[in-house]
């Protein structure tokens, strides 16, 4: 079974049968009304270099205020994880064959980011000003 990382921990859990999945071409606005009732949404990454899901995640989190679990599925590899987390994903269904222990280290690749992100809603330049 492919491995799931949630909140930077390895968890062993099958995907629920009624998983709501957004494809790259889907508009997250279509879900906006239903969001308060949803606990888990998955965004599919059909290819290693398909970046649409990153925008979808930010829209769900920042524009539509989604608070539940946001899971990246599909071609999700170690080197994607930190960027995905910054965009608001908090769980990751790793693709087959990924080294899960190594993947956990990915969240520490960079200790800071210039931009505002889901974990840090204030961009670096505003925080720098106070230093």
């Amino acid at each position: 079974m492919p491995t799931l990382i949630r909140n930077q921990q390895i968890v062993d859990e099958p995907s629920p049968p009624d998983l709501v999945v957004l494809e790259p071409t889907d508009d997250p606005r279509a879900l906006a009304e239903r969001l308060p009732g949803l606990k888990l949404i998955a965004v599919n990454f059909p290819k290693y270099s398909d970046g649409r899901g990153y925008s979808i995640a930010r829209l769900l989190r920042e524009r539509y205020g989604y608070k539940g679990e946001l899971r990246a599925i599909g071609v999700v590899a170690r080197d994607h994880l930190q960027l995905m987390a910054q965009c608001g994903f908090d769980s990751f269904q790793l693709r087959e064959g990924e080294d899960v222990q190594d993947a956990l280290r990915a969240f520490g690749d960079f200790s800071e980011s210039y931009q505002a992100n889901a974990a840090q809603p204030v961009p670096l330049f505003r925080r720098r000003a106070g230093r």
Partner: protein, 559 residues
């Protein structure tokens, strides 16, 4: 120079560590070829015809002498003792070994340099006007804004996997010297009636296979909205840009398919909720960035009168020395276009000598231009003659800035695996044909640009004369365009069927001949004549008896 603070430095160091780990995983067989490709490209590493090619970022073209010495050192240690300055204000090395690249990047990091996002489908190195900070017509110092955008674009989590590469240019002066109309986004600083600074935002321009002049999407964007507005444009592009066909994936195609008005509506809708949000730029940040730039300690000087100087010094003054906003100072171009040297190439020895000269003559800084030359921006006018002599000894004083032999050329078929044809030998043949300085100066301003394939790295569409390498049944042929211009932007028109390499110089000679016959006066440049009379007279003259030798032809014409 913008001097890194501890956070800037830490991020670059962490990038080196990340890439070291990725390279190790690849070499251990834990990362497959395709995935590693996406990762190495984001560190400027291509696999080329002979060996990898590494593209080192020179953010907005600004370099310190210390950095240049490091580049000289690196080129000697990891390459064959020289580097190539590209039209994107980067430095390319052609023979580094994959396993050594992490070490090379670590060395770069010691002088606050990197290769971050110099290729791959992400926001690339920001380019700028090479006279930023010294131009007489300056509105803002574009370097400050470039640095702001550099930080915003560096590891932007949302825009690291765009449909295609994304190039942004910033111009801070009245005249556009950054080609803002042929970039994915061009930002041209302006002041409104209330003296507030903002940017005219141009979107969807570009060269390459489908050259398009960009559209103004926003006539005046107040400076504080810059980053949220960029976020909005990039998000629309990231979500809706085409990913099914690499040749249709640039933002220019999306803008064209939507139409600029519809595209603007989408961007505005995306922008509205972000506007005035936390990513709104603060004046404190602009001041902070400004404060981290080293500034030359200019003296109060008087202008020096050089009228009556003798040739060849005079020719150099006229072509390679540019006005400076302060009296007594000048900006100087170092020509990397000496006949016989591939355009943009510099040896390690030259780099070290240039670094010494920059220390002595220009406050230890220099700039790389998109024309593949170097600029010393703050030279005392009184020292021009001394500098000229030193540059002459180094072969960097060819007085050809703005002239036909200041050829922009991509590396082409000698180095690049995508090429249809070689470009460097063509540049050299043209330089040899036109090496008579008097004739060259008589022809006047002329931009000649060469690309080895449709990717247009040599910007051939905006050359007054543009040459493009094409493949005809496996042979190298060349298509010629005329009438392109950088600013105001216009794209060249193809004059007709392509030529064999042996004919290209003759074709150029005939174009020049036609121009000299048709021009009203010396003040009417080649490109002005093309715009006035159209392509036809040029075409007729070029294609008539093309096999005739130029000397015979001149005789025939004279008779």
């Amino acid at each position: 120079m913008y001097i890194y603070d501890d956070i800037d430095q830490r991020l670059v160091d962490e990038r080196v560590a990340q890439f070291r780990d990725q390279t190790r995983r690849f070499l251990d067989g834990k990362l497959d070829e395709d995935d590693f490709r996406a990762l190495r490209l984001r560190n400027g590493l291509y696999v080329q015809r002979f060996a990898p090619m590494l593209r080192i970022a020179i953010p907005y073209g600004l370099l310190s002498s210390r950095q240049l010495r490091k580049l000289a050192d690196i080129a000697r240690k990891y390459d064959r003792g020289y580097g190539h300055f590209s039209t994107r204000q980067n430095l390319q090395l052609n023979w580094p070994k994959l396993a050594e690249v992490p070490e090379l990047l670590a060395e770069l990091a010691t002088v606050q340099m990197h290769a971050i996002q110099t290729s791959g489908n992400c926001v690339r190195n920001i380019t700028a006007d090479q006279f930023a900070g010294v131009a007489k017509d300056e509105i803002v110092d574009s370097f400050v804004w470039c640095e702001l955008i550099r930080q915003w674009s560096t590891f932007h989590p949302e825009f690291n996997y765009l449909p295609r590469k994304f190039k942004i240019a910033v111009n801070g002066a009245v005249a556009d010297r950054a080609a803002t109309f042929v970039h994915d986004i061009g930002l041209h600083a302006i002041q409104n009636a209330e003296k507030e600074v903002g940017f005219r935002v141009i979107v969807g321009g570009g060269l390459g296979r489908t050259p398009i002049v960009g559209h103004v999407i926003n006539e005046f964007l107040p400076w504080r909205h810059l980053l949220t507005y960029l976020d909005a444009i990039l998000r629309v592009y990231n979500r809706h840009g085409r990913r099914d066909n690499i040749h249709k994936a640039r933002i220019k195609i999306l803008v064209k398919e939507r139409g600029i008005d519809k595209f603007r509506e989408e961007v505005d809708a995306e922008w509205a909720p972000m506007r005035d949000g936390p990513a709104t730029v603060t004046w404190a940040e602009i001041r902070r960035i400004e404060g981290r730039f080293t500034r030359p300690a200019h003296e109060k000087l008087a202008d020096v009168d050089y009228t009556g100087s003798k040739t060849p010094f005079n020719a150099w003054l006229k072509r390679n020395v540019h006005p400076h906003k302060l009296p007594g100072y000048a900006a100087v171009s170092l020509s990397l276009k000496k006949t016989g040297v591939p355009p943009g190439d510099v040896t390690s020895d030259q780099m070290e000598r240039i670094a010494d000269l920059a220390d002595h003559y220009s406050f230890g800084e220099l700039r790389v231009t998109h024309e593949q030359n170097l600029v010393f921006a703050d030279v005392r006018q009184a020292e021009l003659s001394g500098l000229w002599q030193e540059l002459r000894a180094l072969g960097l004083a060819t007085p050809n800035i703005g002239l036909l032999t200041n050829i922009i050329s991509c590396p082409g078929g000698d180095f690049c695996s995508l090429a249809n044809a070689k470009s460097i030998p063509v540049a050299e043949a043209i330089q040899r044909r036109f090496d008579d300085l008097d004739y060259l100066h008589d022809i006047g301003e002329l931009d000649l640009n060469i690309s080895g394939c449709m990717n247009a790295c040599g910007h051939h569409h905006v050359g007054h004369i543009g040459i493009l390498g094409v493949d005809k049944n496996g042979e190298e042929w060349y298509q010629v365009e005329i009438g392109g211009n950088q600013w105001p932007a216009s794209l060249g028109k193809v004059i007709g069927p392509s030529f064999a390499r042996a004919d290209v110089t003759n074709v150029i000679e005939r174009l020049i001949e036609t121009y000299l016959e048709l021009r009203d006066s010396e003040n009417e440049r080649f490109v002005d004549v093309v715009h006035r009379v159209g392509v036809d007279p040029f075409k007729k003259n070029v294609y008539a008896n093309l096999d005739q030798k130029p000397a015979d032809r001149r005789r025939a014409l004279a008779a």
